[in-house]
């Protein structure tokens, strides 16, 4: 029986993790939860899973949560009020919860960084769905992992595919999981990309892209921000940086291939030229379950892949002109230090501005490129955690300033690209 702590329990990854825990009650016990603001769902989760501790990011909601739970407890004696915690300290306490064997970190964005670090510092194994941990804070996180023996299990479908394929290699035998250390015999990673909402659009047509267009993902059901990242291919660019840190491979050996059907979740090429791939329907439950059951696999009744139904898997090289964000990510990754943190924060802010209809879709890469360019003179190669948090703030402000200034923005009336 594995004890699980879930960070971001009311989000997409969190709710799916709890569904899996419910589906396998003999395998998993949920001991701690943290959530943002969604009290009704959180209360339901507490009723179902009876965790020992619960943290709310927004402490001002704690009294309300307490009251709801006390009322419930009066109605039903089986429900006891868990230890209630609030704010960053509360999140950190849940992340490092003593009884937890595995911490699932489903908090999106830079907000997930500190609790994830708290889990690492407590030596926990992590199911990592929070990209920022490695992308922004790789230089800080890697030495901490080495020091505490905490192991990162990738929960997103691409890195899970690579991780699954690597299980049978000497890497898995010798080290099992040593994030950031070059993987013996691993010669190339190919991350598959659906191509996002605009995969069939020409560059010319992209000039007319609206928010509605950008937030319709063809294969995966995800949040709006990640769906826009799929449309710009920044999502894949960030995954390249994450793969670099997770599997210790140089950027020139990490490739992106457009695979619109999202059936092959990623591939590895081994030293002898053999290629291994992991396949499945586009569903986040499998990679999450694999983190939870690893190194075992559990029997599921989930829908089985039928390639005769899919009939056709296609592949093409990504168009770098159409997807400039991809190249920006490679460039930031190769620069290293604080640059990926700037790339990530600038992207988050630019996408936010796009979703608020303040900028055009094609402004996203322009703004990010400018922020990265402007950061060059302040780049730190061996940043502290504080440095990373500072550049994260700086990059977001930089984007806001540029948007206010408006000088490099495309107007919807007069596109010039």
């Amino acid at each position: 029986m594995k004890a699980i702590s879930v960070l971001g329990s009311t989000g997409s990854i969190g709710t799916q993790t709890l569904q899996i825990a419910e589906e396998f009650p003999d395998q998993f016990r949920v001991v701690a939860l943290s959530a943002g603001r969604n009290l009704p769902l959180l209360v339901e989760q507490i009723k179902t899973h009876k965790p020992e501790a619960v943290a709310l990011a927004d402490s001002s909601l704690l009294p309300e949560l307490k009251e709801r739970l006390q009322n419930l407890s009066k109605e039903n004696q089986a429900i006891r009020v868990p230890k209630l915690l609030g704010g960053n300290e509360g999140l950190n306490e849940v992340a490092a919860w003593d009884h937890a064997d595995l911490v699932v970190t489903g908090i999106v964005g830079c907000a997930g960084l500190l609790p994830t670090l708290a889990a690492i510092r407590a030596g926990k194994d992590l199911a990592l769905a929070n990209k920022e941990t490695l992308i922004a804070a790789g230089p800080v996180v890697l030495p901490e992992l080495k020091r505490t023996g905490s192991r990162l299990l990738p929960a997103d479908s691409e890195h899970s595919a690579i991780f699954q394929c690597l299980q049978g290699t000497p890497w898995a035998e010798n080290a099992r999981l040593s994030t950031g250390v070059p993987t013996p015999g691993l010669r190339r990673i190919q991350l598959t990309a659906s191509g996002g909402a605009f995969r069939e659009w020409s560059i010319e047509e992209l000039k007319k892209a609206t928010i509605e267009d950008a937030t319709k993902h063809p294969n995966w059901s995800m949040g709006r921000k990640i769906t826009v990242d799929s449309a710009t291919l920044m999502n894949k660019g960030l995954e390249v940086i994450e793969a670099h840190y997770l599997f210790g491979l140089d950027y020139e050996h990490i490739e992106i291939v457009i695979h619109p059907q999202s059936i092959i979740h990623s591939m590895i090429e081994l030293a002898d030229s053999s290629v291994l791939a992991q396949l499945g329907w586009p569903d986040m439950k499998l990679p999450i379950l694999y983190c939870m059951s690893w190194p075992s696999r559990l029997q599921t009744p989930w829908r089985r892949l039928d390639l005769t139904e899919v009939a056709e898997l296609t592949f093409k090289a990504p168009n770098t002109k159409k997807y400039p964000c991809m190249e920006l990510a490679y460039s930031a990754g190769k620069t290293g230090g604080t640059m990926p943190a700037v790339l990530n924060a600038a992207n988050e802010e630019a996408v936010k501005q796009f979703l608020e209809e303040k900028i055009h879709f094609l402004d996203i890469p322009r703004l990010i490129e400018k922020a990265c360019e402007n950061h060059k003179s302040d780049l730190k190669y061996k940043p502290s955690l504080n440095d990373i948090i500072l550049v994260d703030h700086w990059a977001r402000e930089e984007i806001t300033r540029e948007v206010k200034k408006g000088s490099i923005l495309i107007s919807n009336q007069g596109l010039t690209i």
Copy 2:
């Protein structure tokens, strides 16, 4: 440094094995060879690899081989005449050669069975390219493997793909290789089939199939017999039986999927619904190398897979009406005992008669079906090696008799299907 003994050194698998040994002189040393009749090539191989022992299946050629080698030895003092052996005993001695760590069994057909058994009885690890060992003699071979601890490494591309994918499963961890034992966590095997020479032909068009048509394989360069087996899909049917013995899976969990590009070499589905696949260009060198290097992988400069060049992988369910041999193989496999030996021998003889222009392409399944039907009353569920050899002879004679009788044969003029 691994010491290798090669059975069938002048055949397709044998020559590729020796090419690999030449490509990795620090890894492999060839200590013994056996060949059929191709003296010029065998002499070249002896010059290059300097084996300790050489066996010729046809003993009558031994004096000529000896003379050629003695003359060479006079010209070049570096070439010493190896121990020369002849006939079945000679093949068995090479198969069980004391200094060999791994025996590559590349002898095609039932002729390979006895030497392969000799290697198993000597406790050698085997790179198995000889299908008959398991298909015809599975019930005899499995207990011998268990007794001696000899391990079967599959050298054909499909079973190698499955074997590679299985490396990271609990199966690999616990048992590594225990042929015939159910594999924990392995829920389904999908063997990919190119569809052979007639994959684009309708059943109607098959009535006009000639030898020339049947021996043109679209993807793989192989011998004529195996190319015809690809055209009937009997090849895949035999692989289903082999997979059943190798990986201990019931027939209802071993499927065939038509995949004309031959890039995915086969797939496994694990308990949690995850699918793993092994991919590569259609080239036998990789599966042979993997047998030789297993459990390691060696660095090769071989052509790297480029899926953007392939562009498209397609899949469809096989048409059982078009490929009746496939169903005959499933049926014989499920019956078990001596039936797969009859299927295999009847197929070999029927293909021979087809290549000699004595029967029509569509007669092949008819003849095999009749032989299997006629064998039912003599079926042995726990056959001895002798039983298997006897039914093998019987089935070949049965086909010859039917062809002479001609009663069930299709005439090219009056096709009735």
